[in-house]
Symmetry: C2
Subunit: 424 residues, 2 copies
């Protein structure tokens, strides 16, 4: 008799048949005795099609109007899903983000949730109806304008709603079976994981695993909402993302490596010959940050004392590459660096595992495997439970497979605990 | 320096080019020094496509959810139009019916406007922005659910908003040039009218002229909002719908006939052998009314005193025909009538003109013209400024042309004042 929030992605409701199949699953959950709140994305490619229409009328559509446009997508899918549920004899009641009480700031296209006031959702549950909430959208607290939370943010809507409603858990339905030790398209022997911790999932998501959005996992960890990532095309169990301590009756011994993530959508910028003075790096990265660009890895080589100059490299989303280069070029004279290098043929491979905290030698094994596979490492960055390397983009499949083998993560392995995830 | 409400129909914003053309026109109005509020319909066939999707998931979608679905249509067109205006250097600010303060009752699919509280529209005007309001939609006063006002009701939204804002006039942009003396597709010599009274336009709309919706004209008459019906594909003057007395400097003498309307979407039901007792007709029509069916003409022949029985015929929208027949069949035993006849091959031709009040012989001329053309009259119904006849559907073009000629309404005529209108 749990209260469950179920989130269905665009691929699960891509057409009328998909919507009817999802309706069956929701009604099945209710018939099993649970209360259900549904969060739904726009159908299939609707969001892309709407964005294309926007491009046709304006080269730079205002954010407020783009959000008004894009939110039409969930409006369509949620109403259709409510109809399909009605056709199965239960009441589906659809709610826009605004009606569901998803209150955000005013940053159109990338709004943050400030609060959720789900009075109408609770009233619908009390009436015995199944609330269907539009993912991805909310309403600005100050301007009362419609906002969107950014691409793929329906997961975040679902987890935030689960937290606000005090739900027992949140099911994220997608088109893959769960979280794998590596991307199964790259590593055929990759294993599906029964469970992964928030902490590890956060590192995986930050390192390019697309199965769950970073923000959604952050939200789930903060409010301790267990997430069940599973396929809407099968009935098999997926992967549970939970607190590490919450796993009952499982081996206390943490496996060394949870899984391997890759990201091939970044570019690398190197600033050559930066004067080795206090505050220069801060000045450079302030310019990038003020442009709203998120920087990922930053590496600064040891200062060459002889010349008084140093090189700084960083990675960033490839889509922001040219914009960042233009900003930096304007800074060249002021800062007095020598030159800029731009490389968009890179890939990042990351090893994630809470067990590496207490197991020495993980990086040695990782780098050794890459060397044996003939993969050259361009950059290295580490956190307490993650090691990331930047390599040539063409070497990414080789690097992932080599690491997967070296840590014995596949079906034959015994130490594997976590990851993978394919695109959604 | 007028305040103008401009309404653009689906055919005017059918694609990106249409939206850009409409944006040009709106910006042009602003540059001419006027304040503009825009009401827009869904793009082209969007509403039909959404309805098709609904049919695919459910044979009988709940009204609340159908309204949620269909209102996505204007959301798309209004956001795109706001973007196109932004691209021309002015601010377009889109508003849903709910945001624009269109408060309705809770009758999903055919809601009535209870009130308009256009605070956000006025604020946008004060900011120098151009408010773009979704036509056809509102929000229920009691349930706060999204409602729609029924097919073609964007005209009503525009006029109601014009009244609430105290606008100087309301322009209805469509794909025809204005109101004609008859449907130009039937009568090539039909003339476009420069002006028509609310009263005459009401009769024309009620009799099948599609250029303006009945509700919209009713609203305009009640609040004395002049309507300018014109084409969004040209710059020529259209037809002004105004108070008869408001026309300045025009001939005081009212023309006899304003125009001719036809309606080929009705069916006729005849109840044969109704016992001629007090209350029987009331009982029959109560049953029909309770089904939400709008009856048009009703004709009862003089009671045949010898038999104590009478025949009652009425016309109704053809779409409701089978439903009404089923209701009446269940009533047969209780009321004790002999039989029911159903005819869906009828057409209605109506002559409208305020001048017929003071000109005797109009009906004689009308019926004479039909007889000369060999058209048989099945039913007759009249109002103070209208004469309608029901004929065989195949005879409609012949009847319209014969009447148009008989009253000399064409380009060569001198008495013509009003009508026509093609489908939108």
């Amino acid at each position: 008799m749990a209260l469950v929030v179920q989130k269905y992605g665009g691929s699960s409701v891509a057409d009328a048949d998909g919507i009817k199949r999802v309706a069956q699953r929701i009604v099945g959950t209710r018939k099993a005795g649970h209360s259900v709140v549904v969060v739904v994305s726009a159908m299939g490619d609707t969001t892309d099609e709407l964005r294309d229409l926007a491009d046709q009328v304006s080269p730079a559509p205002p954010g407020r109007e783009l959000d008004m446009l894009l939110t039409a997508g969930e409006r369509i899918s949620m109403a259709l899903l409510a109809m399909a549920i009605a056709n199965l004899g239960l009441e589906g009641r659809s709610f826009t983000g605004s009606q569901a009480g998803v209150i955000t700031d005013s940053a159109h296209g990338r709004a943050r949730i400030i609060d959720i006031t789900p009075g109408r959702i609770q009233a619908a549950l009390e009436d015995g109806a199944i609330p269907i909430v539009a993912g991805f959208q909310g309403v600005s607290q100050t301007t009362k304008d419609i906002t969107t939370l950014g691409r793929g943010a329906s997961d975040t809507t679902a987890v935030a709603l689960a937290a606000a409603l005090g739900a027992d858990y949140c099911e994220i339905y997608t088109d893959v079976d769960g979280v794998f030790t590596a991307d199964p398209r790259l590593v055929p022997g990759a294993r599906q994981l029964p469970r992964i911790s928030y902490e590890e999932m956060l590192e995986m998501a930050a390192c390019g695993a697309k199965v769950l959005m970073l923000r959604c996992v952050e939200y789930a960890r903060r409010y301790k909402i267990p997430i069940h990532v599973r396929s809407s095309f099968s009935n098999s169990e997926g992967t549970w993302v939970t607190d590490a301590v919450a796993a009952e009756g499982e081996a206390m011994e943490q496996a060394i490596i949870s899984g391997i993530a890759q990201d091939t959508k970044e570019a690398k910028i190197t600033i050559v010959g930066v004067p080795d003075k206090v505050g220069e790096a801060a000045r450079i990265f302030r310019v990038i940050a003020d442009s709203g660009i998120n920087i990922d890895m930053i590496v600064q080589n040891i200062s060459a004392a002889a010349t008084g100059r140093t090189d700084i490299s960083f990675t960033l989303p490839r889509d922001d590459g040219h914009h960042a280069m233009a900003k930096l070029r304007r800074l060249q004279e002021e800062v007095g660096f020598d030159s800029l290098l731009y490389d968009d043929r890179i890939g990042k491979v990351s090893l994630v595992g809470a067990g590496m905290r207490s197991h020495p030698g993980v990086s040695a094994t990782f780098f050794g495997a890459l060397a044996e596979a003939g993969v050259n490492i361009e950059m290295i960055s580490t956190s307490e439970i993650r090691i990331s390397v930047v390599v040539d983009q063409n070497d990414v499949p080789l690097a992932v497979t080599a690491a997967h083998d070296a840590f014995d993560l596949g079906d034959g392995g015994e130490t594997a605990v976590v990851y993978g995830g394919t695109g959604r």
